[in-house]
């Protein structure tokens, strides 16, 4: 068991470094990404650019620069940004983590609960009008781009109907820390939670419904029915467990990615300074140190989430245990 964990952990490190090297290479392969001129300022003389190049170490070979950056990131922990010079990247990223976690965990709670409700209800009432409506709503949710939905929410809640009873409770955009202003924290996040969750509710509900319907036709379900168990019990206690495999897998993928900053468009639209927004800004500015840090941070969570999902498989479906 311990050996397996250590092996898995080793693989994780391997993946993370692999990605960081790829990112580094891509950055330097992009024409125009050379930061020296942009750092030096517009219309800088050639001597100025050279001086900047030297001071940032851009004249060194790539693998030396990579080594230096990794050292600054992990060992001395004083990696600074290219764009906002002198700004330490690691504390900046750490500052943004609570924001992203608040957004993502809240949304995850919503979509897991409603996704399951959707899926179970749709499977139970299979073929009926309720089923059809649920599918339709779910699909519409999938078809709306998150940034569009977010802007529309802002349009209604902040601009058009801000003064009506419907939305007057909505506070100004921007994150309020939980420790300082719990009520503000909650109210600010309600609409972002819903916006982010809508896409996933439709998707997860749909997947769960399909797996449930299929599971209901398995032999062991017939056994359960033959034993005289009620339909509900059959559905919830027996079919659900094995149907959750896809659900859980997807959740691991999505949650891992979101914690790592994949919710960037939601954060940008709602003015939440999370990891995603930091990544987005860094990409726009081609700020390599910040990109590297956020990429390594994100890949850590993705890999961790997937590892945890593999553990959960074993709990869900006993047949996997012996694999």
């Amino acid at each position: 068991m311990l050996l397996a964990l250590i092996r898995r952990f080793g693989q994780m490190i391997f993946v993370m470094f692999g990605i960081s090297i790829l990112v580094f290479l891509i950055f330097f392969a992009t024409p125009g990404a050379d930061p020296a001129s942009r750092i030096a300022g517009r219309n800088a003389s050639p001597e100025t650019i050279e001086a900047v190049r030297k001071s940032f170490g851009f004249d060194q070979p790539i693998w030396v620069q990579y080594y230096i950056m990794m050292k600054k990131l992990f060992i001395t922990q004083d990696l600074t940004s290219f764009v906002n010079r002198g700004w330490k990247v690691i504390p900046a990223v750490i500052d943004t983590i609570p924001v992203t976690l608040s957004l993502v965990i809240g949304a995850a709670v919503l979509w897991v609960i409603f996704g399951m409700l959707f899926g179970i209800l749709a499977a139970a009432t299979r073929g009926s009008i309720i089923d059809k409506l649920l599918i339709a709503f779910g699909l519409v949710g999938c078809a709306m781009p998150v940034y569009w939905l977010g802007e529309v929410m802002n349009l209604f809640s902040q601009s058009r109907y801000h003064d009506t009873w419907l939305f007057s409770w909505v506070p100004p955009l921007g994150y309020k820390p939980l420790s300082e202003d719990p009520e503000g924290w909650f109210l600010t996040l309600i609409i972002p939670w819903i916006t982010l969750a809508i896409l996933y509710i439709g998707l997860y509900g749909r997947v769960l419904r399909a797996n449930l319907i299929e599971a209901m036709q398995e032999d062991y379900i017939r056994t359960a029915r033959a034993k005289g168990l009620s339909e509900t019990r059959v559905l919830l206690r027996h079919a659900l467990r094995t149907s959750l495999i896809s659900f859980v897998t997807l959740f691991g993928l999505d949650f891992g990615a979101l914690v790592g900053g994949a919710a960037l468009l939601t954060e940008v639209v709602f003015g939440l300074q999370g990891v995603g927004k930091l990544t987005y800004d860094a990409l726009q500015n081609l700020d390599l140190p910040v990109i590297m840090t956020t990429v390594i941070y994100a890949s850590f969570f993705v890999v961790l989430a997937n590892a945890l999902v593999d553990v959960v498989y074993i709990l869900l479906d006993p047949r996997v245990r012996s694999a």
Partner: protein, 309 residues
Amino acid sequence: MACLAIFCLIAVLCLLAPAYVSFANTDPFRASLDATVEINGVEVPVMEESTEGLALGYTPIGPTWQLGNYFLGADNQGRDVMARLLYGGLNSLLISGAATIITMVLATAIGLTAGFFGGMTDTILSRILDVLWAFPVYLLAISLSIVLIAQGIDLGIIVVEAGSLWLPIFIIAIVYIPYIARPIRGQVLALRRSEFVLAAIGLGVPEHRILLRDILPNVSTTLIVFTPLMLAINMLTESALSFLSIGVQPPDASWGTIIQDGQGLLYTRPMVALAPGLAIALTVLVLNILGDGVRDALDPRSKIKLGGD
């Protein structure tokens, strides 16, 4: 089967885009900032200048609900949204469709292999999936878009130039492989231990036949369910990528680029962003129901189903 009809209708409408354009006598690819349109006998400029207050800004005309005459209004360059929507449908369906097919094929192959063979194969494939999923695709997209402006990439069989549609197809396809492969792998892991598979192995059936004949049909439900969902997600990803100028180049249109254009008009002409969104939703809905029908028709067990569909 009404759904098949609706889907065909959508496809045909898009194919008829050139006909609509000549009927409407408009050019959906050129800016028509000075054009005028006739509504109820009155000549109205397509880009209406703001005249009240400080006279700031120009607002494109809203939906006229007259076929052939800026039915859905104009976008911020004075172009007919309806015409662009029809042309865009072709591009969107093409890109998302191709990407979806590639994703499903590759992801199924990876998922089946990883789940069935286990061991080192599974470890390597799973780590590759991890790298794919954690990779910052936007960085790659930005980088590629700049590299390709200067020169294309020659891969022997395929030459990828800056405006080539292969680029978004591949990027979108690759991004979502883990999203399908991992659930498939999960299912296969469970199926691997089921009685009929063990029986087949015991009987000495060659492995590839077990994969194709026994395991694949059982994951087919998941695949069929995922396909329309992936189509929807791909169309939206294409929209995000088109913002970075990968894929459909201006002045060509796709539903994704029209949504992007519509973002800048949200406060005055929401229809520009709404129309392609609804188009995507409708297409996906129809394909989804179609998919269910196909699954029901093919699945042996659902013939003995207890409820109707």
